[in-house]
Amino acid sequence: MHELAITNKILRTVLSHARRNRAKHVHRVLLVVSELADLQPIWLQHYFDKLAAGTRAEGARLEVERLAPEFDCQSCGRRFSALMSEVDLIECPACGSRRCGMVRAADYTVEEIEVSS
């Protein structure tokens, strides 16, 4: 359900750039989404298909690239990626410190679109 609001924003961003670039059809949309975001690509596509009907993005295929969360070691400053399932046992791969904190904010970015005129 929560994909609906996000999908609407994706579509608005896509259409605004398609218009600005005088593109008649959008064929593909590349999204970069944080792995933290609880978004299911299958539902994004489902809502996108419905919302984009009749627009120049009708039929476009969504590609989703996931970004792993990043952490900083508060002892030695090393930055590294880890999975959420590793949070309980997290330690710095360089110095072994357990004082690590997440740094990268949640990203939801329309990275690129593939269009034709």
Partner: protein, 229 residues
């Protein structure tokens, strides 16, 4: 086959809401209003925390509440019964509040007469965390019966919070809630964020919450009253 070309965009889909939220925040600040956004799952104690906050601060600050409910006025009625103005946003199925909805909700309010405006967001740990409401302070509430693994399941919520409240501590051993595990998880997700255990039911720990909140209310700042009038 049609010739296609690739256009690089690199635009956050939340940018439009973020800009609106920033405008609203500035406007509220100019009127001396502090907007507090409370987020949690349904049933974690948002309304109960608001009632405790009103009880503790109503003699010193003028408080108003915006209640976001999908399709009922139950919470707004509880606030109104405490004698505090409550504006209801029935979201009609919308699962979170965005800056534009807050903007509309405050449009009829006399902002100069309000010190603390509390938004009781929709009970939802996903979408609410992703949308800036224009609040100066965003607080996540977690409660004993929900479990200490909530931060692992909804990391964005616990990252978005300026403080995390752990409510219903009076459950004690009835709930398998490990406060230290929750503290450690929240600390990794959001280093330095305060975690405040309390019970809205018994009142235990509410003073620590008020001690965190009160100095962050704009009109409590030294010289605030001179600036406002």
């Amino acid at each position: 086959m049609k010739e296609t070309r690739v256009i690089r965009i690199r635009e956050s889909i939340l940018a439009e809401n973020a800009a609106k939220a920033e405008d609203l925040r500035e406007r509220l600040s100019a009127h001396g209003v502090t907007l507090l956004n409370l987020m949690s799952s349904p049933g974690s104690g948002k309304t109960s925390l608001i009632l405790r906050t009103i009880e503790a601060l109503r003699d010193r600050y003028s408080i108003a509440v915006v209640e976001a409910d999908i399709d009922s006025t139950v919470d707004a009625d509880r606030i109104a019964a405490a004698g505090i103005p409550a504006v209801q946003i029935e979201t009609g199925g919308f699962c979170h509040i965005e800056a534009a909805m807050m903007e509309a909700a405050v449009s009829g309010m006399d902002l100069d007469a309000i010190d603390l405006l509390v938004l009781e967001n929709v009970g939802n740990l996903i979408c609410t965390a992703q949308h800036d409401t224009g609040a100066h302070l965003s607080v996540a509430i977690l409660s004993f019966p929900e479990g200490d693994d909530k931060p692992l399941k909804y990391p964005i919520m616990f990252r978005a919070a300026d403080a995390v409240i752990v409510n219903k501590t009076d459950y004690g051993d009835l709930a398998d809630f490990n406060l230290e595990a929750a503290r450690r998880r929240v600390e990794v997700l959001n280093p330095g964020v305060p975690l405040i255990p309390l019970s809205c039911r018994t009142g235990a720990g509410v003073d620590a919450w008020i001690a965190w909140l009160e100095p962050r209310i704009r009109s409590s700042f030294p010289g605030a009253s001179e600036r406002r009038y």
